[in-house]
């Protein structure tokens, strides 16, 4: 596997310009105003500067492209310019200064989306002030194929080594409570929605009536809950955490009554009321592997079901998948954290969900729920060049991400990182395209990872031998060092 950098046919400048469109051609526009020397100089300088920076082209060539829109283009090329996909297909004109990643024999998928996460950006929920794009966790999340994640209340991109332009959307979840365990909260939400609805009716009446009566006053917003109003105006989709079938049914009815589309986290017993949830236009964020026996005091269906995702999907509910732990765990108990998002989606397939829907559950569905589907979730012209290149089926347990690209930048190369390079190494060490880093920086890369490694160790709670001992506890819990008490063997 060798990089076929610049091996695409040479094409004339004019061709590039006419094809690439206005922004590029501007750079080379001759200065018209020859009389004014200063301006000419400026223009030349601008042109030069533009020429140096130029648009950044990135091509992933020869892979089987799973666009996420239902089509698979075998041996196709995905071309992006300045981080945005400009073309997907065959025999594309690739500018000679493009970086080219030869993905022949590999698969290309849209980058995955973690609809919930903590620590992927190396810091806390306060992304802006704590982001660490050199952290272990960001590298490992990219290795897991995740290129977009919710951090705190923001949706951001895992742009490694970068701290700008990460955030794609803010305040993505509007959490509401509507559960029989909290009757007061339930009553309160009903009242807020009723008042907000009443206000909207009055407002509409006012809009009609004021045409004939200019003296009419706008109805008062006093006592109207702004969140309820935003929900009813479809400015926000409310999020509920609910697992109980009665709660789910109530949410579905409330949603149908007021015409909003709920997002439901958990949704464990959703399979028992899937039709109602489907009619409510609900989206569900579920953990397919969730395991809770039903309450044996009741004869009715209940508890978790491995078929939850499949049943909900069949009923028209948009299903997104998140593992039981939305962090990165290096404690050793593998298969249930964000490093294994695809494995979790695989459990939905076990329960009868199609492979395609399972893939959507970690790409397009979360993109839609998070309001960023115009940029990520599928590979389409005009969307961001956020993609992963894998050595096998996305959901297969042996599959590794070989490369990850975010916004047209190569941000992860399995062979260049210490974590997984030793596991089934690439046959003929395929080289990464020449990245923007200079040679010196590239050579230093392992050191940087080593640093990250130390930090990762610190994040866990067992440093050193003694710590290990303490952690020998076969805790049933996932987090390291929790030890799980001593009740287990």
């Amino acid at each position: 596997m060798k990089v076929t950098l610049n091996t695409f046919r040479l094409i004339g400048l004019v061709a590039i310009l006419s094809w690439a469109g206005a922004p590029a051609s501007f750079a080379f526009a001759p200065a018209q105003d020859g009389d004014k020397d200063e301006k000419k100089k400026d223009a030349d300088a601008d042109a030069e500067a533009e020429e140096e920076e130029g648009p950044e082209w990135f091509a992933v060539s020869g892979g089987d492209v799973y666009t996420g829109t239902g089509s698979i283009l075998r041996g196709a090329t995905v071309l992006s310019k300045d981080g945005v996909i400009t073309d997907i297909g065959y025999d594309l004109f690739v500018p000679e200064d493009a970086e080219v990643l030869d993905a022949t024999g590999y698969r290309v998928y849209p980058g995955l989306i973690a609809i919930s996460s903590f620590g992927l950006f190396g810091g806390s929920a306060d992304l802006k002030n704590t982001v660490d794009p050199f952290s272990n966790n960001m590298t490992l999340a990219l290795a897991a194929g995740i290129t977009t994640a919710v951090n705190g209340s923001e949706v951001a991109k895992l742009k490694r080594r970068a701290i700008d332009d990460l955030v794609m959307n803010t305040s993505v979840f509007t959490s509401l409570s509507f559960a029989k365990s909290n009757p007061a909260g339930k009553r309160s939400l009903r009242e807020k929605l009723a008042k907000a609805a009443e206000y909207l009716r009055k407002y509409r009446q006012y809009e009609t009536d004021k045409k004939s009566d200019k003296t009419l006053k706008e109805p008062s917003k006093k006592g109207i809950d702004s969140t309820a109003l935003a929900v009813l105006r479809h400015e926000k989709r409310p999020t509920f955490s609910a697992n109980d079938r009665t709660d789910l049914l109530e949410i579905a009815h409330l949603a149908q009554q007021y015409g909003f589309r709920p997002i439901i986290r958990g949704c464990r017993e959703g399979w028992t009321v899937a039709g109602e949830l489907g009619r409510a236009g609900a989206s569900a964020v579920i953990t397919p592997r969730d395991r809770r026996p039903k309450d044996e005091r009741f004869a009715r269906d209940g508890g978790s079901s491995i078929e939850n995702a499949a049943i909900l999907h069949a009923a028209g509910v948009q299903v997104a998948v998140i593992p039981g732990s939305a962090g990165i765990s290096l404690g050793g108990i593998v298969g249930r954290d964000l490093m294994h998002l695809t494995i979790e989606a695989g459990f939905a397939v076990r329960g009868g969900l199609s492979e395609e829907a399972a893939m959507q559950a970690i790409t397009t569905v979360p993109a839609r729920i998070l309001g960023v589907d115009h940029r990520v979730g599928t590979l389409e012209v005009g969307k961001d060049a956020d993609l992963i290149v894998t050595d096998g089926e996305l959901l297969h347990y042996e599959t590794f991400v070989q490369w990850a690209v975010v916004h047209g930048d190569l941000v992860y190369d399995k062979e260049e990182e210490l974590y997984f390079a030793h596991i089934r190494p690439r046959p003929e060490a395929a080289l990464a395209p020449e990245t923007k880093l200079d040679a010196g920086e590239t050579e230093e890369a392992p050191e940087e990872v080593e640093e990250g490694g130390d930090e990762g160790e610190g994040e866990g709670s067992d440093d050193g031998d003694d710590g290990d001992d303490g952690d020998d506890g076969d805790g049933g819990t996932e987090e390291e060092g929790s030890g799980g008490g001593d009740g287990e063997g």
């Binding site: 593998v334 596991i423 080593e450 001593d486 287990e488």
Partner: protein, 440 residues
């Protein structure tokens, strides 16, 4: 550029819906005998059963691992014949179960289970070593957690006491599929549960170190084996047998190789002590159980001493200094050092912990992080290897003539999380059918 060469992978054989439709029971539908009717085909006392499947994963430790388009004959609860469809004739009078595109594999074996009984009863810590305590009285056959495990393809388990002390007591080998103790009993004692370090010190009134714990443990072994030798000598010389001491009874089983020491042992130093003390010094059959962390560094020694390693639930080990920044697969680590008998366990501990039904995932993760799966290493790690380790190889763990017919009917590679278990047979009797309600 050619596609990269890959080790053979199991593939999904298709969607379940289409496969389920292919399941044909000829000539009659119900296979298991219920409500005291005549024994069903395949069950003890019933007519023979011929299972026809696209692929039989025989999973033998040394021998064939798959038969394509296979037929498996079951009679009196045992496997009577295994072969390709063209080679094997179905005898007259056998009921044929044509599974279409589905596969058949041996039921899986989990040698580190805490959910076949009530967990709260499993960790009585009286002394630092309690070889006389037994898991037997805690058993709750057919509890919901076990039912889910069966639906995950786990048919045999070693229920063991916890690791609150260095010797937790007797483990017991059980079948998972039935509702009573008698039906589920495979072997008692199933093992002596040893936990050399890591957990026991936390329960002790002071915090003993490894040196003392192993001194104390060795003392118990030496006294126990002397007790066993007393019986052997009495039998040989025709003299009166010594008085029974319930605390040491299990050492008679160990001395006669009728059971093994299942050792909760994880770190390199601890694993090394397991091998050198229990196996090389005391000469007992022992396996590494619940193996994790950097225990793989003792892999070469384990192979030399023929100590199998059953690994989980931690399948990777990472320390930036000790693994050079690599995320090291534990199974791969043992394999790289030459160990051949590598298996997987769950350490299932209840609702909040890892479920027994995720045994197959443990194998999948072992493979993901580097363990060779080109010849079904992952599947053997949850079937024939644990059978060998626990002394059950003559009874379960492979599709081999003469073994108990513990079969799982699956949609593809049994360790792929996407694969579902459609039916489970135990001793030739159907104990789970997903068409009657899928449990996992």
């Amino acid at each position: 550029m050619k596609p990269r060469p890959r080790s053979p992978r199991f593939r999904h054989t298709g969607t379940r819906a289409s496969l389920a439709a292919l399941i044909l029971c000829v000539p009659i539908a119900p296979v298991a005998a219920q409500d005291g009717g005549a024994p069903a085909a395949g069950a003890p006392g019933g007519p023979g059963l011929a299972v026809v499947a696209r692929k039989l994963l025989t999973a033998e430790f040394e021998g064939r691992t798959t038969v394509d388009n296979g037929v498996l004959l079951v009679r009196d609860g045992k496997i009577e014949a295994v072969g390709a469809r063209g080679e094997l004739t179905v005898p007259d009078g056998y009921e044929v179960l044509d599974l279409g595109g589905l596969w058949v594999a041996p039921g899986m074996i989990d040698l580190h289970c805490h959910v076949a009984g009530a967990l709260s009863d499993l960790n009585d810590v009286v002394y630092l070593t309690n070889p006389g305590l037994r898991a037997t009285p805690t058993i709750t056959p057919g509890n919901p957690l076990m039912k889910t495990a069966v639906a995950g393809g786990v048919t045999s388990v070693l229920l063991i006491p916890g690791s609150g002390s260095n010797m937790g007591g007797h483990g017991i080998l059980l079948r998972s599929g039935f509702g009573t103790f008698e039906e589920n009993l495979l072997r008692d004692p199933g093992s002596l549960k040893l936990a050399q370090a890591g957990n026991p010190e936390r329960r002790a009134p002071w915090f003993p170190g490894r040196a003392f714990m192993n001194y104390n443990t060795r003392g118990t072994f030496v006294r126990g084996l002397a007790y066993a030798a007393g019986f052997t000598a009495a039998e040989k010389n025709g003299t009166t047998a010594p008085a029974i001491d319930p605390q040491y009874e299990i050492f008679r089983h160990l001395a006669d190789k009728r059971t093994q020491v299942s050792t909760h042992t994880q770190m390199y130093q601890v694993v090394m002590t397991t091998i050198t003390m229990v196996r090389q010094e005391l000469g007992l059959d022992v396996y590494i159980d619940h193996g994790t962390f950097d225990g793989y560094l003792a892999g070469e020694l384990a192979e030399e001493a023929d100590v199998p390693a059953i690994l989980g639930p931690r399948q990777v080990y990472f320390r930036s200094t000790r693994t050079d920044g690599k995320i090291q697969g534990v199974a791969a680590g043992y394999e790289e050092r030459g160990l051949r008998k590598i298996g997987f366990n769950t350490d299932s501990i209840g609702r909040r912990g890892i479920g027994q039904e995720e045994l197959s995932l443990q194998a999948a993760m072992g493979v993901r992080y580097g363990y060779d799966n080109s010849d079904m290493g992952g599947v053997r790690g949850v079937t024939s290897v644990p059978a060998l380790a626990s002394g059950l190889a003559g009874r379960v763990g492979a599709l081999t003539v003469g073994l108990e017919a513990d079969l799982i009917v699956i949609t593809g590679d049994p360790i792929d999380p996407r694969t579902s278990v459609e039916m489970v047979f135990q001793v030739g009797q159907k104990v789970y059918d997903a068409r009657e309600g899928r449990r996992w």
